[in-house]
Symmetry: C2
Subunit: 345 residues, 2 copies
């Protein structure tokens, strides 16, 4: 399937030095894809000179005169920078010139511009941030990771719908299982929000497993894990901190003395393989799901490989019809639950 | 300092086969301590026959005719089992015969009985569950871990007070830093609850660092990390699941083929030392903090060593005056903040 992806060429900590080679590698690996690179005209053209001649025809350039800074308040980016590379890239979805947008820029600005320009899908109150995390059996799709700090039970249901669509599109699960993140498996556990959400999920027609706990994310108990953005963000950041600490502890132990250093030499392949299974670059690309378009946020510090993974995710979501799948789920769920607004509402 | 600890000898998955040897080892290492073992008279006396004769005089036996089951509803345990080993052990604090109680039994029941029998400290609305987690620099004291799913900002302030007292008593920090778990460092981040709590903490006279994120727990950014019980429980369980997954991945890699198995042999000491740094037994013992007495919950599956750590924690909290320190903090904070009830309220 022909897919055109708009790329915010200037976004992230490294800008063009990462986005251009990543796009180049992505196009080489994905013959059906085309890219519109959006950025400051002169440096962008210069950077594109390095791209292989066979790939260059599949890259279009769209000029933008401004750049959203990484720490700029989202409202400023939205109101004052109407010609930013991020904004112009998202506009390309709106105009139909692209089906997806990938940016390594400011998350808050990307969400604000995405909501303003694209609006949310019918039946979705607010978009969420979703990503895949590795687990003992494959990956879990987890959302929301920080877009919504105060959620209603209906929103958690919408997250479940969107998460199910993502797990199907990205992981190929036909009828993905959905877990509701709670502090115990029993139905009486948790706060009112999750208890109400559990009631909705039970009647939703989705493949609802029930409550799951934090450890279930990494045990792979369910394909999708749903939670509010505060809890999801804490779970994600806590995980990042813990992995960093464990790596440091492993490094400490493997450099403690000459015996340990020798053991490290013998373990070189093993440790490399271990680290590669957890390589955050392979999981790069959070989906701003719920917008009328595929918008992928790459980590700001992404390197070539990481940014390429974000591009691949955008491609998959378009090629496998993520938006259509969400619409189908909304329709099916609203038929079950009168509280959910039908598609044409 | 002479410290008497009441031990629920029957609690946990292993009961007497763990509690008796753990008490024995604890007494051998802690000459100032005495223990009251509470349990079914006959099996308890039989189990105590194995204890070294020099230690036996420091163990008193108190009979109890019932046992709280691990999955029994807390209200049932509270109302119907007035002669359970757990209840009798907590009664010993109330009567002044012990200064602390340690149980590996049902957490909910321990909390319910603790609140009913001992009541909360002046100025504390509801007790919290606190524990220490390893970080890159030492340990973090984190609370609440699941006792309170709906918290007010005043309660988060109380958690900060109690966490500070614990960090002083257990880790020797004179003026521990307190972080408020949030989804960003900026003051504008998070929900209303944490923003209000931040305002209270700023004026509290505690050593408030500001907002921290999930990764700060393991970076050791602050000595104490405060959050509501839902978020804290998810962070803790997520961490447990992630560590299990990483161990499994390491094991997978080190058993993949004969080269990897050889590397594992060479790495035996290194991996052993790595695992011991994270050994959950060394961190066993959650404090049910905020009660008028030191109550420590050991993990249900604790072995001898783990249960001994829980006993040590109880000893430290009594010996270093945890309850008095909380009272001092409450007094100091209520002098700063009129919203906090003074000690004699």
């Amino acid at each position: 399937m022909r897919v055109t992806i708009a790329v915010d060429a200037m976004g992230g900590d490294h800008g063009l030095s990462v986005t251009v080679p990543a796009v180049s590698n992505f196009l080489a690996a994905t013959p059906e894809a085309q890219v519109v690179m959006v950025g400051l005209a002169a440096p962008l053209e210069t950077a594109l000179a390095s791209v292989d001649k066979t790939l260059r025809p599949r890259i279009t350039v769209r000029a933008a005169s401004e750049i959203v800074e990484m720490n700029e308040p989202p409202t400023d980016a939205l109101r004052r920078k109407k010609d930013s590379s991020m904004r112009v890239a998202i506009n390309l979805i709106k105009s139909g010139e692209a089906q997806a947008c990938v940016s390594a820029g400011n998350t808050g600005a990307l969400m604000a511009i995405g909501k303003f320009v694209l609006k949310t899908l019918p039946g979705i109150d607010r978009p969420a941030i979703a990503t895949q995390l590795p687990n003992a059996r494959g990956v879990s799709t987890v959302l929301d990771l920080g877009a919504n700090v105060n959620c209603s039970s209906e929103q958690l249901l919408q997250f479940a719908i969107m998460g199910s669509a993502l797990a199907t599109v990205i992981e190929g699960h036909k009828n993905p299982t959905v877990g509701l993140l709670n502090i115990g498996e029993e139905e009486t556990k948790g706060n009112e929000l999750v208890r109400e959400a559990a009631e909705l999920l039970k009647c939703s027609g989705l493949n609802f497993y029930g409550n799951v706990e934090g450890d279930d994310i990494y045990m792979g108990t369910t394909d999708v894990v749903v939670c509010d953005g505060f809890v999801g963000n804490v779970a994600l950041k806590t995980s990042e901190g813990l992995v960093q600490m464990l790596y440091q502890f492993l490094k400490d132990e493997y450099t403690r003395n000459w015996r340990a250093r020798l053991a490290a030499l013998f373990s070189y392949r093993v440790l490399k393989s271990f680290k590669s299974r957890l390589d955050p670059r392979r999981f790069n690309g959070a989906t701003l799901v719920g917008l009328r378009g595929v918008v992928i946020k790459s980590h700001g510090s992404a390197d070539e490989l990481a940014f390429e993974y974000a591009l691949r995710k955008a491609y998959q979501e378009v090629a496998h019809g993520m938006l259509e799948r969400i619409a189908q789920h909304i329709e099916a769920v609203s038929a079950q639950l009168p509280t959910v607004a039908p598609l044409d509402a």
